[in-house]
Point group: C2
Chain length 325, copies 2
Amino acid sequence: MTETVLVVPGDGIGKEVVPAAVSVLDAVADFEFVEAEAGDHVKAETGEALPDETYERAAEADATLFGAAGETAADVILPLRQAVGSFANVRPARSYPGVEALRPETDLVFIRENTEGVYKGIESEIDDGVTTLTRVITDDASQKIAEYGFEYADENGYDDVTVAHKANVMRTTDGQFLDSVAAVAEAGGHDYEEALMDALAMHLLLRPEEYGVVICPNLAGDMLSDLAAGLVGGLGLLPSANVGEDNALFEPVHGSAPDIAGEGVANPAATILSGAMLLEHLGYGEEAATVRSAVESVLESGPRTPDLGGDASTEDVTAAIVDEL
Amino acid sequence: MTETVLVVPGDGIGKEVVPAAVSVLDAVADFEFVEAEAGDHVKAETGEALPDETYERAAEADATLFGAAGETAADVILPLRQAVGSFANVRPARSYPGVEALRPETDLVFIRENTEGVYKGIESEIDDGVTTLTRVITDDASQKIAEYGFEYADENGYDDVTVAHKANVMRTTDGQFLDSVAAVAEAGGHDYEEALMDALAMHLLLRPEEYGVVICPNLAGDMLSDLAAGLVGGLGLLPSANVGEDNALFEPVHGSAPDIAGEGVANPAATILSGAMLLEHLGYGEEAATVRSAVESVLESGPRTPDLGGDASTEDVTAAIVDEL
Ligand SMILES: CC(C)[C@H](C(=O)O)[C@@H](O)C(=O)O
Ligand SMILES: CC(C)[C@H](C(=O)O)[C@@H](O)C(=O)O
């Protein structure tokens, strides 16, 4: 069976790093790649950043590889996450030998709830200059992310599971989140620690080695995973998966980087590592491992793009990775 | 005129660091100190963590110095911030010569909105396992914090002002926040940058030296200021002010630290530096500067508590600071 992988390069360096990742995937698996459009450049032409066709193709594909979008990022990625039915945003943040990092001992995976919290989009201006947003936390979504998080920790050999929250202030909503996590943990016999999200931000900087899998409400996961990018040297190396019941979307954590777009020097590692997550998700565990170790060996001693202090191009780095496969 | 300063030691190390700060304040100014109770130990006795009397005394005092509370922290500090009419939470985070820091070049001041956002406490369980929280952002509170932030930057010589937000997701509420800040900046001719709070979390780790004053919605300020504590070596050195129109409350950013409470080895620096902020607020700018430089010189070459690698007691450190005044 040939799986269909939708590729959506998007804007800016998305157009450079997605083809790089496709060439790596092409070297290890036999996917049918279909391309679709999204982003600022589409909005400029048609008035809509995410064409219906792209949404539907993502919903129908076996998996999607997304690059980045510029100003329209939220208009593109939030619906695309819905298109694939994603409930979990998986964001590993680890350092690599040979890459300078503030905290080389970092090996974290954020399991971010991907459907609710402040992302529900329920807002209004209830009076002149008085605005509200409704944050939603449900038992269903919270149990689902907890189940996914504990299972991920077990399968990937992480002993420490931490649950981020701010239930001392958001008593009912994050109280619900904690209760749901507790119910799942109890049922499955899982151990974990609760951590206030503010204190956790500090502890991740001071003692990252004490943490492994971090299960988070939506916005906390957004912030804490970017913070972790700072611990390992920036966004150029961070892949992510938006996992649904039977579909998923993979994307680098970085954005469209308009400052370097078009120069051919974007670091393709985050997108290629997102491709490795895609391989794993579709059942190609061995191929995923091969891609990961090729990226690692090039990061350690191969050509580097300028963000890592080198002067190699996206193509040079990609070719070196393909060579290692 | 003798100002009345309410002191509320609270729980745990609050009972050790507040007396330390009072002895420093006593050495440089002529305040009338009044003591009041709050915290876990009060709740255990009376069922309420914050007695009405403490609330009223805080409202009536010229300023309050608070230590820390344990499990009841939110029940104590959130009403106390209201008692003094605080709209701005001011949290400087800087490193000190001689103190190990992940990012010694850090010199940040978070100006956190202190009345609304997710802290409004409007929550409900609208159906079984379905909970909501209403986040509130108003033009009034946003303009007020912006005015305070720009003025603080001018008066304290910070060139860079950054406004944290997540308006790509919280479009109406953080959109309001940004509009209000923009109106204030326009009226006063102030320059600033907007920064998405997730990206900012990363950039503060990678390039703290590019930031100065950071104006934040309430919860973002809570998280980002704790993150900054990680950059400068932990919470033991971070003071804060909760500033109102004509009253204010000062507190260390750290908590009650039950693990070391009662041992007499808590680092008093954060509370003494909070005392310096109190002095400055009440018009004793020179005395505030004297206290700050005494703390700096002891941090650089005096006795140290165990959190900074020393084996001195709270009393030793406090005595050394008083000696330097
Ligand atoms: C673009 C934005 C809507 C998005 C998010 O907040 O999820 C981004 O920050 C991310 O982390 O993928
Ligand atoms: C105790 C808690 C309510 C408080 C807050 O969230 O403001 C604390 O984290 C702080 O930063 O002072």
